[in-house]
């Protein structure tokens, strides 16, 4: 994999980033209502003062230019809704929470997915295959907003083993990460099963067997590496999907992650937070996909990037 390829990918990102900033900036500005429209009517004089405070009294184009200038300095501006915070501070507070939730969910997904899929692949067409695969169909079909409340009902309200909402103790982490990871675990188990079964039929596995290697050595050394390729290529989109898709889980479990700020900022017309979170999501998705391409090249000798 050449350095050229990396540079090319990064070069493509620049115009897309420019486009995203411009689109989001103007789209949110053209939505009716604004950060200061409230149920109690604000007098014109007060509105003027509020707008001046946030440079909203300037022409839209100079606000746009100002945004770029601030962005280059790494300053995403003050939040309109959270009066005593900047967007940088909000992201610094919320992003680690979303990342933690996402990584925990991904860990569950891989742990459960690979073991269930591996089990199914080792004993295909037996009960060890049917049961996990039936569950995985369920996992793929059921949306988060069904899985979450059901888990809360069973483990939170009936058994009272785990808290129903919040993000303070380690117990708080269990149900949300399981909820979020569930669908991905299901998908990963199917990918693992498919990949492993395909590999087991290959010549080099037969060779390994003929050499007299033990079954466990064959699985760990030879089958897994090739058989998990589909899983690896899925991890990138999965991580991106988990981080951006966490907002439903964050809402169900009242977790103060980035997803909630993303949604609320749009509803509140908190322009700067809308911009900041959108740009962050864009960057995260880009990085995830980029990393996967690189890992893929390392794992699979057949893949070459020019």
């Amino acid at each position: 994999m050449g350095i050229n390829y990396v540079l090319k990918r990064l070069a493509i990102m620049v115009p897309i980033f420019f486009l995203v900033v411009t689109l989001v900036f103007f789209m949110i500005r053209f939505a009716p209502g604004g950060p200061f429209s409230s149920e109690k009517t604000v007098s014109a004089a007060i509105l003027k003062n509020l707008e001046a405070k946030y440079h909203m009294d300037e022409p839209l184009l100079s606000q746009y230019v100002r945004y770029w200038k601030d962005l280059f300095r790494g300053d995403l501006g003050p939040s309109f809704k959270h009066a005593n915070r900047t967007v940088n501070e909000i992201i610094a507070e919320a992003l680690p929470i979303s990342l933690e939730l996402g990584l925990l969910a991904l860990t569950w997904a891989v742990l459960i997915g690979v073991s269930a899929g591996g089990l199914a692949a080792l004993k295909p067409n037996t009960v060890y295959d049917y049961v996990p695969m039936a569950f995985s169909i369920l996992g793929i079909c059921l949306p988060t907003f069904v899985v979450g409340p059901v888990l809360v009902l069973v483990f939170g309200l009936w058994l009272q083993w785990l808290p129903v909402a919040g993000w303070e103790t380690w117990q708080d982490r269990v149900l949300p990460s399981l909820t979020l990871g569930f669908a991905y675990a299901a998908y990963i188990s199917r990918l693992t099963r498919g990949g492993l079964i395909e590999i087991r039929g290959q010549e080099f596995i037969r060779t390994a067997r003929a050499k007299g290697l033990s079954e466990s050595e064959i699985v760990i050394k030879h089958s897994l590496r090739g058989g998990l390729l589909p899983v690896v290529s899925y991890l990138g989109p999965a991580l991106a999907g988990i981080i951006t898709g966490a907002l439903v889980t964050e809402t169900i479990f009242n977790i103060p992650g980035l997803g909630r700020f993303f949604i609320e900022s749009a509803v509140n017309r908190d322009y700067t937070v809308v911009m900041g979170t959108s740009l962050l999501y864009f960057t995260l998705i880009f990085i995830c996909n980029f990393l996967v391409d690189i890992i893929y090249a390392i794992l699979d000798p057949r893949v070459k990037y020019e």
């Binding site: 009716p32 007060i46 959270h82 005593n84 909000i90 009272q160 129903v164 479990f253 977790i255």
Partner: protein, 529 residues
């Protein structure tokens, strides 16, 4: 989800739960955990407007007077006593000498002078600046007509005497002082930190509690303030205000005892909770009216006969019983009965003859049986609850008057924009009292009031409201308000629908918490059993 509610006292597997999750999740000793709705915008008493903010601020700061949690009568706060002049326009407050800021500095009259000027300063851009308009010169100062702040009606003869001169005798002025907009703020802190002065590491306040932790969209923790003058009376050690937006989540947190009180109850759970016998469901009237604005400048709604027909054709009893379903009371007047002890005598009729009357009025307006009348558009902000109500009214208008109505909804900010620019025919609205006096409802409908979205203007009405502001005799004052209500129910720029009810869950462990129409529960008086 299942519609059945587990009994609160059902201690199923509590023991296991306790072993697994030791006290962190429980109200051990004097810690109170409250559900507080949406994330507060800020904790600056002069710039915030919301109820979640107020719930916290009233415990972090203290104004000149407090509020008795049972009777809602003013109690001594930073002021230990006060005198009111004969004309009702001058209030002289004696401040207590032991009142301190949380950094142990004394609170003096100059703190209040600074704070009220800050509220009124146009640069502060306070949305509640009008709470300071009662003070002489307040309105002019806020609108930039009066530049010299020393001309405002707030003076101090000595550090512990504050003299306030009002524009008009305002009988509810003392109760206004409990409103957060009139709380004091610490000058040095505000000037040093600017917008960031309310952060836990910067804030200096003067209430029974002080701010310790603020995790956005999660919780705000306050702890007992040892520098508070009455701290020996404060029993709670710590209060956690959880920002929980969804009523369903709040209810679950309550059921698992992570919260001892919720801010609301999911609508579909009210009925099952009503059957619960443990008494944790609290339900009481609240000073607020749910109503419809009528754009009186739009044909055919510019005709008062049609407006009245529309108002009479609604069966409010049915509406609250079968549609709203939260035990609300039908609103037959604009001011909720009992606001500051005011009982509106004129009522929208509820007997069955009202439908016949409505039909007659419609015929009188030239549209017998609704024939020839264009469809009426009802606007509401997107929500399942508002939709159901609008649909019920659509049905009632169609059944009773033969009038067709169309419904449309808009997302909140778009809705506010539409309402503000009066680009609608009929629009859903709600108004919660800022203070316990009929004036908080009635002065909204005066000509040119920023919150008068009906575009309605009535000189007789305006002069009544103005007259009431100057009237000293409480009985006569309420008679004037009664006349204003009469005009409203004749003209109907608003169609009152129901009186708000506060519904929430409260653990029996919480003591010193009283249900009242203002829904004010100073935590200074609350403790855990």
């Amino acid at each position: 989800m299942c519609g059945k509610v587990r009994r609160y006292e059902d201690r199923f597997s509590d023991r296991l739960f306790l072993t697994l999750f030791p006290p962190i999740l429980f109200a051990s000793s004097q810690i109170l955990n409250l559900g507080n709705g949406t994330e507060p915008r800020d904790l600056d008493p002069h710039t915030v407007t919301g109820i979640p903010e107020f719930q916290i601020i009233q415990n972090l700061f203290e104004g000149l007077v407090g509020k008795d949690p049972k009777t809602l009568e003013p109690t001594p706060g930073v002021a230990e006593s006060w005198k009111i002049s004969k004309d009702g326009k001058t209030y002289t407050f004696k401040l207590r000498k032991n009142a301190k800021w949380s950094n142990a500095e004394p609170i003096t009259a100059s703190d209040f002078i600074y704070s009220w000027k800050r509220l009124l300063d146009p640069q502060t851009a306070s949305e509640y600046a009008y709470q300071g308009y009662y003070i002489k010169g307040g309105k002019d100062f806020n609108q930039g007509k009066l530049k010299d702040a020393s001309q405002l009606g707030i003076k101090s003869a000595d550090p512990y005497t504050l003299e306030v001169t009002l524009e008009n005798p305002t009988p509810y002025f003392l109760s206004l002082l409990y409103h957060h907009s009139l709380y004091p703020v610490h000058k040095a802190t505000v000037e040093k930190h600017g917008m960031r002065w309310t952060r836990p590491e910067n804030i200096v306040s003067n209430g029974a509690f002080s701010l310790k932790k603020w995790q956005m969209n999660q919780l705000i923790s306050v702890e007992k303030n040892p520098n508070y003058w009455d701290s020996s009376a404060v029993k709670l050690e710590k209060v956690n205000f959880y920002a929980v937006e969804k009523a369903e989540t709040e209810e679950k947190m309550f059921l698992t005892k992570k919260l001892q009180a919720t801010s609301t109850v999911p609508t579909e759970k009210i009925a099952p909770w009503t059957k619960d016998t443990s008494g944790v469901l609290k339900r009481h009237p609240y000073l607020g009216t749910y109503y419809y604005w009528i754009n009186v400048n739009r044909a055919p709604l510019n005709n008062p006969l049609i407006r009245k027909a529309l108002a009479l054709a609604i069966d409010r009893e049915k509406l609250v019983k079968y549609v709203v379903k939260g035990g609300q009371a039908p609103a037959e007047s604009f001011t909720p009965p009992g606001t500051g002890g005011f009982k509106p005598a004129s009522r929208l009729p509820k007997d069955s003859s009202r439908v016949a009357d409505a039909k007659k009025l419609l015929a009188q307006a030239g549209f017998p049986g609704g024939k020839g009348l264009q469809p009426i558009e009802i606007l509401y902000n997107t929500s399942e609850g508002h939709k159901k109500i609008a649909e019920a009214i659509q049905q009632m208008w169609s059944d009773n008057l033969g009038i067709q109505a169309t419904l449309y909804n808009q997302e909140w900010k778009v809705f506010l924009d539409t309402q503000h620019s009066r680009n609608y025919m009929v629009s859903r609205a709600g108004w919660i009292a800022d203070y316990n006096d009929p004036n908080t409802f009635l002065d909204m409908l005066t000509t040119g009031n920023g919150n008068n979205h009906a575009g309605w203007s009535n000189q007789a009405y305006d002069s009544l409201i103005e007259k009431a502001a100057k009237e000293l005799n409480p009985k006569k004052r309420y008679e004037i308000f009664q006349k204003a209500e009469d005009i409203l129910l004749e003209e109907l720029p608003v169609i009152p629908l129901y009186v708000y009810t506060r519904i929430y869950l409260l653990s029996p462990d919480v003591q010193g918490w009283f249900e009242n129409v203002e829904d004010i529960h100073p935590l200074k008086y609350v403790w855990m059993k």
